[in-house]
């Protein structure tokens, strides 16, 4: 399982690079409505995803590895999604990368992404440390319970 996901991560990183998502300036171009390459990348990825989910639902697909039926459950709504998503957007614009593309850039030799990656770890740590101290269930924890995902 570990090596399968290491392989999956490698493949995803490779594809992000070929798609242009690891070029800082394409993110700036996207938000200046210049070169819209990344918009088409996202749009075609989502389009094939909608078709794929539809097909798998129709077939009542089961997971290859575990044999259990796929759940198709989405992430839950919660109030802090709104400020959180805006914060992520601000970081996206500032760094020209996102939590998935920054490590790929690092692998490509784009050293600036190292500080972004360290920042993401720091932000995750601070949020986890702050919410971990509050009484449980009082607010959204860092991670959902494992069984909520499947």
């Amino acid at each position: 399982m570990k090596f399968l996901f290491l392989l999956f991560g490698t493949l995803f990183g490779f594809l992000l690079s070929r798609a242009g998502a690891t070029t800082f300036d394409f993110h700036a171009q996207l938000f200046q409505f210049g070169d819209l390459r990344l918009l088409w990348v996202i749009a075609s990825a989502v389009a094939i995803g909608v078709a794929g989910i539809f097909t798998m639902k129709l077939w009542r697909a089961r997971s290859w590895l575990g044999g259990e039926p796929l759940q198709f459950d989405g992430k839950p709504m919660r109030r802090r999604l709104v400020p959180g998503a805006l914060m992520l957007g601000i970081g996206w614009g500032l760094t020209g990368s996102c939590p998935g593309t920054a490590p790929v850039m690092l692998g490509e030799g784009k050293f600036a992404a190292l500080f972004t990656v360290l920042g993401i770890v720091l932000g995750t740590y601070v949020y986890g440390a702050l919410t971990g101290k509050q009484k449980r269930t009082a607010c959204a924890p860092l991670a959902r319970p494992a069984n909520a995902e499947r």
């Binding site: 989405g74 914060m87 972004t116």
Partner: protein, 166 residues
């Protein structure tokens, strides 16, 4: 810059979308990057927040996925006939123009941007991978909202950044 070769955008998007579907079909685990950073925190912290629920150490696939990402970037450069691997601090023509030239200021800005993304992703419950590529494929309303807000935040930031400093 060591930019690797590019595929046409539709082909890049198609293969990313297809990859996300195949991973989901094989493993029943939806694409996502940002929660893997919680495992990274778990490597240096014993705090319960980084070891429970989806971050339970028994199933730390997200950490391995995250470790694969830089390998993928390296492979992408090494398999590019037109580029040689080189390490440099440049962020490309546009960002280099608006980023502070002093190294400490650049480091500070990038770290702050990263920290906003790290905390923001945990508050939102996912990042561009989990909410946009995987979540929008499910047509899940919270993910569609998150995607719109990611985009709004990026839009306002880039517009301000490039108007003020270029």
């Amino acid at each position: 810059m060591s930019d690797a070769i590019l595929w046409p955008s539709w082909l890049g998007g198609l293969s990313i979308g297809l990859f996300a579907m195949v991973q989901y079909w094989i493993t029943n685990r939806q694409l996502g990057c940002s929660l893997g950073y919680g495992h990274v925190c778990g490597l240096v912290s014993r705090a319960e927040a980084f070891h429970r629920g989806e971050l339970a150490p028994a199933d730390n696939w997200r950490l391995w996925f995250l470790l694969g990402l830089p390998l993928g970037g390296l492979v992408a450069v090494l398999t590019s006939p037109t580029t040689h691997f080189s390490v440099n601090l440049s962020m490309g023509q546009m960002y280099d123009q608006v980023m502070p030239s002093a190294l400490w200021a650049k480091v500070l800005l990038l770290t702050a941007g990263g920290a906003l993304m790290g905390a923001g992703a945990r508050m939102a419950g996912g990042c561009t991978s989990g909410h946009v590529i995987a979540g929008c494929a499910l047509l899940n309303p919270p993910s569609l909202l998150a995607g719109a807000l990611f985009f709004s935040g990026g839009l306002v930031t880039v517009q301000i950044l490039f108007r003020l400093f270029s």
